[in-house]
């Protein structure tokens, strides 16, 4: 076995070690971003990352680098299925406040913790279903910041966009999410008394 082959074997093993340590987190992100396509997106991510592994200058940057590649793979998978931003009524979403809507509609008249009761109607799968109604562009910062716990500036680095862009998408994503939560609750019968 020559020195070149040994170096390439070491490189492959370093890559495997990096990816193995990140697989649970990467899967969780992909599942929230592209649902049932998560495994395919992760397979693509591993192949692309392996091809580009020489470009990674320091091992410490590996986890963030992998997540960045994964998100772009998720974009590729989600693009065909996602609703385009132009199909979404942002003006209506901008005016929408879930807090005020719940208070106004008062879906659980005998409750003294109305807003919490509303949230408790949603299981994990309901949350995912609501998220999947959002365009991927706006779903992504919601998932990364609120579900996966990354800082806004870390997300800006992962997406390679300015901080202001992430903040704007986060704001729109939240508004769309709130509006879709209400619509989903109505459509799914979560607000009916007999569903409680």
């Amino acid at each position: 076995m020559g020195p070149v082959h040994v170096a390439r074997t070491d490189r492959t093993e370093s890559f495997r070690t990096l990816v193995r340590g990140q697989l649970p987190r990467l899967y969780s992100i992909a599942r929230s971003l592209v649902g049932d396509d998560a495994e395919d997106a992760l397979q693509d991510c591993m192949l692309k990352a392996f091809q580009r592994f020489d470009q990674l200058s320091e091992v410490a940057a590996g986890p963030a680098w992998l997540k960045s590649i994964l998100i772009h793979c998720c974009y590729d998978h989600g693009r065909a299925k996602a609703r385009r931003p132009s199909q979404v009524d942002f003006d209506e979403a901008e005016r929408f406040s879930l807090y005020r809507k719940i208070a106004y509609e008062d879906p659980f008249p005998y409750s003294d913790s109305l807003h919490l009761d509303f949230l408790q109607e949603f299981g994990r799968e309901d949350v995912r279903a609501v998220l999947m109604r959002l365009p991927l562009l706006y779903r992504t910062p919601l998932v990364l910041v609120y579900m996966e716990g990354f800082l806004v500036k870390e997300v800006a680095n992962m997406l390679a966009v300015p901080l202001g862009t992430v903040l704007a998408r986060l704001h729109r994503g939240r508004k769309l999410f709130e509006k879709q939560m209400w619509e989903y609750a109505e459509e799914s019968g979560l607000l009916r008394k007999d569903a409680r």
Binding site: H5, R8, T9, R11, T12, F15, R16, V19, R20, L23, P24, Y27, S28, R31, S32, A38, E39, L42, Q43, M46, L47, F50, S97, L98, Y99, H115, L116, L119, F122, R124, V127, R128, L142, V143, V145, Y146, M147, E148, G149, L151, V152, L163, L167, L170, H171, R174, E178
Partner: protein, 76 residues
């Protein structure tokens, strides 16, 4: 003191810790005095917790095995 509309507009940026010191102080001052906005703040905090609880999905064993198989197939 800033208006309720302005405080609510900045509420999430406040929770996301992206406001500068001046804006953060202004929002906090408003929240100390305004019960209506406190309700919105509590709901926003709960909504953040609610989303955090929905994250962190565990990778199923069969998917983990297939992904590890792919990793093993990569090589020089």
């Amino acid at each position: 003191m800033i208006s309720c509309a302005e405080a609510v507009r900045q509420l999430w940026d406040y929770l996301d810790a992206v406001l500068d010191e001046v804006d953060r102080t202004t929002v906090e001052e408003h929240l100390r005095r305004c019960r209506r906005c406190c309700g919105e703040l509590e709901f926003a905090v709960e909504l953040r917790r609610f989303l955090a609880r929905a994250g962190g999905e565990v990778i199923p064993t069969d998917i983990l095995r297939r992904l590890n198989d792919t990793l093993e197939e990569l090589g020089p």
